[in-house]
């Protein structure tokens, strides 16, 4: 636990991811929200400028905050969470980092930059060492979080990779509408329909997965060598990305052992008992027809922070295994993971 409360700001706080940042920062034991920014809403009260879709009501005190411009001179914070669109992120995140802020970003702008750590706290916390590389050039730092689909996929793959060595991953995703923000996907595209394409998503899944699973050595990350093939679809579901995963491994795999590995999997956030860390990052469901988005998306001791896995079963031979994984795209896939990452940074004295 940090010795004093840490001031945080949320850039791009009007959108869905921004809303979930506020929802999850409300009552946070370490972090104190000091600023919210939105280019289009400067000067407006949060409550008045937002179409709140994160469930329940706008946290009362946050609702009274006034949007300011995303300007390092105007933001008084130690950490800025970025929920900016990629284009704006590319410019502003660097500006904030150069001004000495620690930027924890949900945008894709710098994820694949070789000096920028792309981290799922339970998987590759050691990659945070890249911050030291960044600090040779600027006083702040940029730390990133994978896109929602990748985070949800990477968590169950991690213990499998450690145990058996993953050679190949074939994944088809059934992603929720909220992944596209608001207004996002038109009703006319999702009533009685599925859209089997999400721009740029499949490339992100592959590249980000390989980087997260990569090894840090000599100040750089060597991407993992596994083969990844993904198909991303959009289905008429509000929240919760479901992923149908097929894996081939180096060594022979045992399904019962996989179930056990998944259930017992823990990472640094669990060891450090970080506030937003769920007791179990992965929950294996026994129901034959689970996980289901509506029923399981808010699973875990910190609701929405656990990935649920079901139907773990043998693939085509002894070196393949299949399962379904589900995660809340706006919690574990976005705001929650970023907050957990900031907690890890604080616990590890990067902030």
């Amino acid at each position: 636990m940090p010795s004093r409360s840490i001031r945080v700001a949320v850039l791009g706080a009007r959108g869905l991811v921004g809303q979930w940042f506020l929802k999850m920062l409300h009552g946070h034991p370490w972090f104190k929200l000091t600023a919210v920014t939105s280019h289009e809403a400067v000067g407006l009260r949060y409550r008045d400028a937002v179409k709140w879709l994160a469930g329940g009501d706008v946290p009362f005190d946050f609702g009274e905050m006034e949007f300011i411009e995303a300007d390092p001179k105007k933001v008084d914070a130690d950490v800025v969470f970025s929920a900016l669109p990629t284009e704006a992120a590319r410019k502003l995140e660097l500006m904030f980092a150069e001004a000495g802020f620690t930027v924890v970003s949900k945008s894709a702008a710098y994820r694949l930059d070789e000096n920028v750590p792309l981290v799922v706290p339970e998987i590759n916390p050691d990659h945070l060492a890249l911050i030291d590389v960044q600090r040779t050039k600027m006083s702040g730092a940029i730390v990133t979080d994978p896109n929602c689909t990748t985070t949800i996929l990477a968590l169950p793959l991690k213990p499998i990779h450690d145990a058996y060595g993953i050679r190949k991953v074939v994944v088809t995703t059934l992603q929720a509408a909220s992944g596209a923000g608001y207004p996002g996907v038109a009703s006319l595209d999702l009533i009685d329909n599925v859209v089997p394409y999400i721009q740029g998503e499949e490339e992100k899944v592959r590249d980000e997965l390989l980087k997260i699973m990569g090894k840090l050595s000599g100040g750089r990350v060597e991407w993992a060598g596994m083969e990844v093939a993904s198909t991303c679809t959009r289905v008429p579901v509000l929240d919760g990305h479901l992923e149908s995963v097929y894996v081939e491994t180096e060594r022979e795999v045992d399904e019962n052992e996989v179930v056990e590995l998944l259930q017992e999997f823990k990472g640094k956030p669990q060891t450090l008992k970080l506030p937003t860390a769920p007791e179990k990052p992965i929950i294996v469901l026994s129901g034959v027809d689970r996980p289901q988005p509506r029923l399981d998306r808010l699973s875990g001791s910190v609701p929405g922070m656990s990935v649920t896995v079901g139907r773990v079963r043998r693939g085509v031979n002894k070196r393949s295994v299949m399962f379904l994984a589900l995660g809340h795209n706006l919690v574990r896939g976005a705001a929650g993971s970023a907050i957990l990452l900031a907690e890890l940074l604080a616990a590890e004295k990067y902030i």
Copy 2:
């Protein structure tokens, strides 16, 4: 064209598949519907006993027909189409075949029986030769049609297999609610949700695919040797099964060539110009976000009889290719394919 009209009956004509049989038999140039059966509705008028969900109105004259019992003595027909549930099918289809009828079945009861042809008319019409084996034991015959998911998958796989040799198939399906019949899936299971399990479906996909793709030799079918891994899910879509397919091949595969092969693919029904044969069994769509169930499920010169394919692209290496396929589960996946099969039987003088 047969020299006289062929009398056909539909067993289990009240359900969704039964309804599509009637819809597609209406105005059929070769077949004349003489009887409809339903155990629960004997004596009732078709129109009064059916919750019609096949679009438009009940074909007028068929609506006036009276349900009779599925009894070979009461049915006056050359061919019986069976849309019976498996249990009833096991008993009744054999009874009809023994009584001399040609049974064209949509049920799973005898699909994997070694003397029973399991045929997609464009793929393995030669398997109909198994009828001769059956005829050594009885005067009629049972001919079967794969389950909807398999038919839709098998069609685009056929030309790929012929050209490159398929080693492995990994498929995740997004299946429509109507695949479960009426009432079928509860609204509470599909509003804001997806159910990642369909009982028995994944086993059917593998076994039936291997049998269809198998080689007939010496009066029996040797199943194909490819590896098949499938995950079947139910999505909030009315009609149209979407399938996300990953394929590994023996020989190096070229995506552009695959597109061409799919587009040019034709089978015996096209050569014979059977009434229910679409000009193109497979239509390749160029839109980056196609096929989509609502927009594409009724594709083809005979609406719903073509499978649409989109996003043909390289998989993880030179020996893998990926695509999405979509078919109407009640037309190409059920009644339409069975009627096409009966047309083939007629054209080939099996009836």
Copy 3:
């Protein structure tokens, strides 16, 4: 039937209403499409610039047409159908009328203008006489069609009003997503949800209904005196507005007689056998749970041009009656009604 084919153009042809104009004009016996306009798509082929959502494929030849600017000098037509947004309509429709064109408009711009006829062809064809008033000021004319919700409501009210005198109407609508165009309503607003508000709609329903039901006398329309209270909601349905209607009448009303009146109702389009006139403008369904949007929206001998009515029943006393009405918002509620109106204009020698 006109002695020569009539050249027509569609202004704002890219949107959903525009698409249905093209769909319904294809193969039209009297009208020949000569131009399509879209401010944003000038120079592009129709097929390439449109996200086609009107079912089936873009009519082939229309797909090849090139969008031009909505400029009276560039459009070669007798009639222009306007599917323009209100603001653009206000300017362009007048410009076309002044240039001598007959404008048949689906926009709200001039509907309530006292010299502009607001006509449902089966209800108030006599209001077209207002064209003569317009012609004293310009060579062309503007003729309008009510908004979709009003048209669907007005049709069943007409024979009831004629027979019993309507004093009061209380209506709650359940409107389809396509009524808001594309992209229109966000998926996040309609998954597991209903939105009980549609901007401006309730005022339109009241005002337009009163004008349509009004009496033409002395070159102006005296609005009907009935009281109208409406609540408009948006539901997760693609096409088809359902309306729950409660009516109070001057004279005692008999439900069976109402059913008969509705079923027998015919207007001038039926007498004249106009090409887009359905045999029955109103179809009364006997099913206790009808009309339903998905099952009934394409009813009628010209699909989608008939309003279906169900559950005709007594209200709170002998002077009130209730029913549900359903119509296809893009056919009877938009393109179809406008085309029918143009046919009437042609038949009545206004063109």
Copy 4:
């Protein structure tokens, strides 16, 4: 607060209403669950025999309970909550009441019986005096709760009736799928569709509303004299019934005053600070497009126990007012109201 904890049982505890009873009884300060019954599941553990759809997980300890038969001799409780189907309720509820139990019923079996109080705790708590009439004949009592649609309607009507005298109510409901239980409504009926009919519902709305709003005098309830016309529809929403309400009053009505009356409305449960009483039974929302089922169904200090109201506006003249009301059909409309009623019975010493 009662001096000792009150033992309660839930009859028909497997269904959706039963599940919400368990969810809301968990951790209840006064009530201790001692038995759950289900004819089909006797002997099974709750957890194993239930498809849990009430959100989150089955409350742990309740999940371990074993279903018993609904037999007064086997149930050890002071109060039994009945979520039985009507037929079973007719027999069993009387049997329990005769055996001395206080039955609080969600079934329709005895709601309109003249000696049985039909009570919404905030509206007509005085009707509980009918219990004394019952007690002349048996040692226990039956107390009932209106159906969900009526409760949600009656709450906002109550202060309006008190202030202005209601003459007429015209209501159209948009009801959630969960109102029909599980499996309830088929997906094929609610994908891209609305069903404008719910068997028996409209009669219940009228009769139950009139009884609740009636006056108790001389040991019987004189039903209110207002006219009620209702149309009940089913929409693709999980939980939350939305009602579009038009009201005519005796005296002139002022919309702003109505808003104030609704906001300030409180009943005995609020005065007595009963555990399940929300601070505000009615919450008026200011958003122009509210209430919406998904956003507002869990409103209130006890989530789901407040009815939200929006769009309060003038009807057709000075003596009419319109609004939309929304309530959670399984909380305020079912289990929550029944528990609140039992709390009232306890506080008023009926138990």
